[in-house]
Structure formats: C-alpha cells, structure tokens
C-alpha cells in the first residue's frame, strides 16, 4: 500500500531531516512511529499525508508514484488518508457534529445523506450526547475522539495520527489507542500512530517504526 525507496527530505538548503528511508506498509496493518523529539516523525507523517514531496527517492502509494501526480490526483489520493493531530485542530465555531461531518461536506454530500452516519459514528466513539456542543466545551479526551471521528468518517484507507495521546492522561491514552486498534480491526484501516510515549507502546503488540536523527529502523 505504501512504499518508500531511498527517500530523503530536506527543507530548502538545510540539512537532511529524513535519510534513506526504505520500507513498505501492508494494507490493514498497524504501526507505531516513535523516536525522540526532532527525529523527523512529523516530517515523515507529512510525506505520508502527501503534503510534502521528498527531496529524493521514490514514494509509491496505492500503486502510484506520487512524484508524478498532478494536483487533482494528489487531492483524490489525499481523500483516502485520514489524519489526527495532537492539538485536535477542530474548528471552534462548528459543533462536534459539524466538525465530524466536514470531510463529507467537502465531498459534496448533502446533510440528509450524511447525518445518520455521523450520528452513528459519534455514538460509537461515545460522543452521542455531546454532538451539539462546541469544541471549547469538550474535555481533552472528547476533543481527541471527535478529531478521530472526523478523520475516519469518510472511511479513509490509511489513518495517520500525530501524537494523538499527547494532550490526555495515561489512562485515556490507552483507551484512545484501543479505539485506533478497534478501527484497524473492524474497518481494516492501515494505521500509523506517532507517539514518543514508550510505556504506551509496550501495552500493544504492534510493530514499531523508530526514527532517530532521520534514520528509520523497524522493529517487529
């Protein structure tokens, strides 16, 4: 599903942030992406989200070399990738329901069509009672569940999560990773979850992609 071959990334004329990345991610797999701060986790996630192009090497996604794609095709491809951020990035002027429904609005679906799906998903993530609340009134855990619901509402094939447990307590962190695991198991989504919380990794049996000074090693 995802293949990196000798990929390097640098910003402008600066030093290489990512060096010689070569790996493959199979469909329906779950990987942790870890490493110390500044090791390049977010840059790798941005490459996977197709919001950056590699400085060198080849990135293949869904069987296509992303370096040869035009803007329209990149946009089509990006719609198969969901993203969850540490800082949630919900729109504060929209209700939880409206935030979660955004990807479907962007796809042009009418509200009458997506309302049952959004409601069902919000109930599944435990926000059924909070769907009309604004994000400013939600707790950290509720915000992150809303952000996850927004990332998966359009049924992406890949789900990326950038430190999704960074702003919640350890117990809630564990519950959130369980939620990702459930999405991986029930919907077959390919998940790459970036975190630097090592105790959290020990509780789950998923392979780890470890970045250190821009170099990647994978531990099964």
């Amino acid at each position: 599903m995802i293949e990196f071959s000798d990929v390097g990334l640098r910003y402008g004329n600066g030093p290489e942030i990512l060096k010689d990345l070569t790996f493959a991610i199979e469909p329906g797999s779950f990987h942790f992406l870890t490493g110390p701060s500044g090791s390049g986790k977010t840059s790798l996630l941005r490459l996977l989200l197709l919001s950056l192009k590699p400085s060198r090497g080849r990135v293949t996604m869904f069987g296509e070399d992303v370096g040869n794609l035009d803007q329209d095709r990149l946009l089509q491809m990006r719609r198969h990738i969901g993203i969850v951020f540490q800082e949630f990035r919900l729109l504060d002027h929209l209700t939880t329901f409206e935030n979660v429904a955004l990807p479907l609005r962007v796809l042009g679906q009418p509200e009458s069509e997506y309302r049952p799906n959004v409601t069902e998903l919000l109930e599944w993530v435990g926000l059924g009672e909070r769907m009309h609340a604004l994000p400013t009134l939600l707790s950290g855990g509720e915000k992150q569940r809303a952000a996850i619901a927004r990332a998966v509402i359009a049924r992406p094939r890949i789900l990326l999560a950038d430190e999704p447990t960074g702003n919640v307590d350890p117990e809630l962190s564990s519950r959130l990773v369980h939620l990702f695991a459930e999405l991986n198991r029930t919907l077959g989504m390919t998940i790459i979850l970036a975190t630097h919380e090592l105790p959290l990794l020990d509780r789950f049996p998923y392979p780890r992609m470890v970045l250190n000074k821009g170099e990647l090693t994978i531990h099964d």
Partner: protein, 309 residues
C-alpha cells in the same frame, strides 16, 4: 431584517458556514464596503441629477428663441417690434411670440443699471421671446431670412449657450464616472487586502480543510460565499444611506435654505428628486458591489491558495 433576507440566500451544503460569520476582518470589510457603496451611490445619484437637469434645461431653452431689435436711427422701434412679432407668429412651428415690455426690459437691466431708471429716455435694444411649438418642425431659417427685412433685428437660437451647457453637463457626468471608477478600484484593492487578512486570520481553517481533502475550489467557494454575503450587506446599507441622504438634502434644501438660494439650487440640481428611475439606478450599486466583492475575493483566495501550496 437584512440578516433575515440574507438567510434566504442559497448556501453550499450543510447548515453552518465553514468560514465564521463574525470576525474582526469581516466587520471591517462590512464597514468599508458600506462606505464605498454610499460614496458610489451618492456619486451616481449626483451624476443622474446633473444629467436630468441638463436635459431639462436644454429642452426648455431649445423651445425658445430670442429676437433682438437694436435701435437704429430713422427706424421706429415699436413698429419694428410689431413687424418682428408678426413675422415670428407667421413662421411654421412657432406657438407664440411676445415683445418684452419696457418694464420687463428694465427688470432685466436692473442688476447692471440699478432699479428705478427711466428707460424711456434711453434707446435700448428690445427683446421678443418666441415660443416654439416643436423645435424640430420650426422653420428657423425662414424666420432668419424674414427678419432681414427688419433693420437692427437679429435672431438668437441660444445654440452656443446650449452647447456650453451640454459640454458642462457632459464634463460633470464624465467626472462623476471617473470618480465612480476610482471608487471601484479602491474597493477592489480594499477587498484584496481584507481578503488576504481574512485568509491569514483563518489560516487554521484553510489548513484543516486541506488536510481533510478539500480542493482549492471548494475553499475559495466557502470564502466567496462569506464575502458575497458581506458585499450584499454593505451594498444594501450604503445604498439605503445614500437614498436617505438625498431625501434629507432635498428636504433641507426646501426648508433650511433661504427662498432665493432654494430657487438657485433648484435651477442647478432640479428639486434633488431622484425619482423612481434614479432610485432604481442607485439600487444597481447593491448587486454591482456584491458581485465585485465576490469575484475579487474568489480570485484573491485562489491566488492565495496557489501561493500557499
């Protein structure tokens, strides 16, 4: 009421606008567009008033000719006056002709010679006012030829004065249109700056929309909808204020200014009455400003997004 009317406008899918309706940039832009719409509507109204008055003046003056009889030694003025009046009345297309009395001539000369002067002792030119039934049908050349029989008679068709009047009115209309164009350019520039400001302050929304797979076209459409709404509100407010301004000026000209001043202002601008056609013309400012706002913001947003990506 404006909000209620705007809520009836079609909106892209979903109930809540993705771009927040209330923001500092939005309020600033609304105020700016209201001012621009007011200035545009006032300028347009002024141009229409001048043009209407110029057409009315030209039509009035065009329906009248003046025959001047200069005193000539050996000629009897009263006899020449009667002959000229008779010649004028017999000309095709003439509704009537009348010689100004000595008192009327005295009144005309009073500003220069002073009042109470006995003009019977002075030989002064006399005037005959000729009213035309139809300026197009009137045979002015025949009247001109016939008047050659009256010594000291000359015909003034006011052509030169009308020409000057038309030139002046045309200059004012052109100046007004130039001012309108400048206001338009200033509005476009202000919208560009306001749009870029709004984009910068809503950067988070743009980023999130990009991350969830929104195209630049979708994002531009969302911002365009927001700016169209601001343009309509600003255009409506500015135009209504301009119509109130004209109503107020019309009322003030009739009640505050002294009678002579009112008369002079009335001669220059009519009665400050725009009429339904004038109000309709001014109301066109609303869709024009709204369209200008929507198109400018769309182009600016598309450029901004292209630069950002």
């Amino acid at each position: 009421m404006i909000r209620q009317a705007l809520s009836l406008l079609p909106r892209r899918g979903g109930a809540a606008p993705i771009v927040p309706e209330k923001s500092v940039a939005g309020r600033t832009l609304l105020l700016l567009i209201t001012i621009m719409a007011f200035l545009s509507a006032v300028t347009l109204g002024g141009v229409m008033l001048v043009q209407k008055s110029a057409i009315a003046w030209s039509a009035d003056v065009g329906r009248e000719l003046t025959i001047q009889i200069r005193p000539v030694e050996g000629e009897v003025m009263d006899s020449n006056l009667r002959t000229a009046v008779s010649l004028a009345q017999s000309t095709p297309g003439v509704a009537g002709a009348r010689a100004l009395t000595l008192e009327e001539s005295q009144a005309l000369l009073a500003p220069w010679l002073g009042a109470g002067l006995d003009l019977s002792a002075i030989a002064i030119p006399r005037l005959i006012v000729v009213q035309l039934a139809d300026p197009v049908e009137a045979d002015i050349e025949q009247l001109q030829r016939n008047l050659q029989a009256v010594r000291g008679a000359s015909l003034d068709t006011h052509a030169a004065w009308r020409q000057q009047l038309n030139t002046m009115a045309g200059t004012m209309v052109l100046s007004g249109l130039l001012v309108l164009s400048l206001i338009g350019v200033a509005t476009v520039l202000a919208i560009i700056f306001a749009t870029r400001g709004a984009m910068a302050s809503n950067r988070e929304i743009v980023d999130v929309l990009h991350f969830i797979g929104a195209s630049n076209r979708f994002i531009a459409g969302e911002f365009q909808g927001r700016f169209l709404s601001i343009g309509l509100q600003g255009g409506l407010l500015g135009t209504v204020l301009a119509i109130l301004f004209f109503a107020l000026i019309g009322a003030a000209a009739g009640s505050v200014l002294p009678t002579e001043a009112t008369a002079q202002v009335g001669v220059l601008f009519g009665q400050f009455l725009l009429g339904w056609d004038g109000i309709f013309g001014i109301a066109l400012v609303i869709p024009v400003i709204a369209a200008l706002t929507a198109i400018t913001s769309r182009v600016t947003v598309r450029r901004y997004l292209s630069e950002a990506s």
